[in-house]
Subunit: 170 residues, 4 copies
């Protein structure tokens, strides 16, 4: 039985929310879920390191063809070779998507999550475009896919609520 | 010498801005530019019909594998077979991108346009998410890619300003 | 009504079969069909030039993001940005696929044509891997997709037989 | 440090070479390498089960958007959503590619492996198209990417020779 997979998205650059991303990554691994991300630096790397420090499994989907673009905390790297078109499969590969800040890349990923019907947890405590996306999306009728998290703990609680019934061990 | 290509994006559903999309499509064809779009209905079809009525060339990039998904005004259809990951190439294939309303699909396309450095004309007269995208993007330092158009005429004038020097015939 | 589209595949390098590719491109344009190709040099460019010299429409689907990679005879260029994964959509975008020589790229395209059920005309007069593909594929039960052409004229006649009933003008 | 990744390709249908695929999957896991595959049944499933039985990590890259298409032995599933265009990333994501039989899908994957410069081990003991691909490819000057294996043991030995120096534990 496939374990739940959680996709974490956010900027590939350093941000003020690395600690939060790290803690969310740790939580994912402690629940025995798989962490999926875009495989690069910044928020992706922080979450990957968190999951890795707990012995979790991290799969990173790189835009390019070169494994050297991967952050050092991936268990496995997908070299997609399709550029940012891979953003679509980042979110398709998560049972739930967690957005921490981010800009254009994250925005396309949230758009895809909405379009493909993947539930999203949007960390309103982080800066970047995610919260702005939520403002737009929440005007729509179908709000059921969007969950706001005002703190990292709230993000983790929402993950537990969405996935915990299935496989959480504690 | 390749002619300029203009990508028009917006909802695949009927909207209140079909006439505006039609007029922008006509303008593109009258300038002898190529119209690129996602190949489906709604705004895409209205713009395609406009360009087609002027004898212009329209290329539609479909998400699926079936030519029957194409609107009837395409000169050529690309059956991408890669789902909404094709949104990336919709904007990559335009020298300029014009956004008329739209929701999640348009949002991912504007994100890609920003990420890949394609200039965008965002029609603020239309509803949908495009204007919300502009609000977010205009907070960034690099605003040079984003042009707001308060009317269809303003959108056409901006197209002329961006592309006209190259090939406009009048 | 969408016009028939013919995808021509083959090496992006110069080969001994440029004249044959040129003549097949001309034939496609004279029949008022759309020529689709990978947009680059070699066989693709020769076929594009043939169609262009007859005033036909040529759409090239480039692997990268840069219009400068296009050969000069395209009417419109798709900047796919997904690398050689675009080979899949080259053949999906043809009602019929014509293979003239070629190596690995052509081989993946013929594989996709078989997998997606697009009829293929394989020019056995050209060198390269296409004929070897045919040898393998013809061992299969479903041979209906594969048509061998021993001469350029035979390739054109087969195109007429497959598409002519629909739109050929003469 | 990323562990070596081995992509196993072959038919998604039952074949006479399931035991061999299973043994190669086991070998990959015993060496502590990651198994990458297309995520579906047949040869992919047999190799996945082998790796899984040894406690190894298996990543499957599905063509579609639905995790239910995955075989039950995957550790993680990538829902690519791009159809068979995902064949490109199957081989890009392997440091080495092992081909066991297969038909058109495998053929496109071997073509990509050649095109992107990934070393291939082609199991000549299995039927299908792989051996035919090798016949074609070995005519080329650059034969360094292609390794023939006449038995499963020979395939494993070649994997050890290509990857063993890096991380094999015994």
């Amino acid at each position: 039985m496939k374990r739940p997979q959680v996709t974490v998205i956010g900027s590939h650059e350093e941000s003020r929310f690395m600690v939060e991303a790290y803690e969310i990554g740790r939580h994912i691994a402690r629940r025995n879920w798989i962490l999926v991300c875009g495989g690069r630096g910044g928020i992706m790397e922080a979450a990957s390191r968190g999951a890795s420090d707990e012995g979790g499994i991290v799969v990173g989907i790189l835009p390019g063809v070169d494994f050297n673009d991967a952050n050092p905390y991936l268990t496995a790297a997908i070299a997609s070779g399709i550029g940012f078109a891979r953003n679509s499969m980042n979110v398709l590969s998560g049972d739930v998507v967690v957005a921490i800040g981010g800009r254009t890349g994250t925005m396309s990923e949230l758009s895809y999550a909405f379009q493909y019907g993947r539930p999203m947890i949007i960390c309103s405590f982080a800066d970047g475009w995610s919260a702005g996306f939520a403002d737009l999306a929440l005007r729509e009728d179908d709000r059921s896919l969007i969950h706001m998290a005002a703190t990292p703990i709230e993000a983790m609680d929402t993950l537990d609520a969405l996935l915990g019934g299935e496989t959480a061990r504690s």
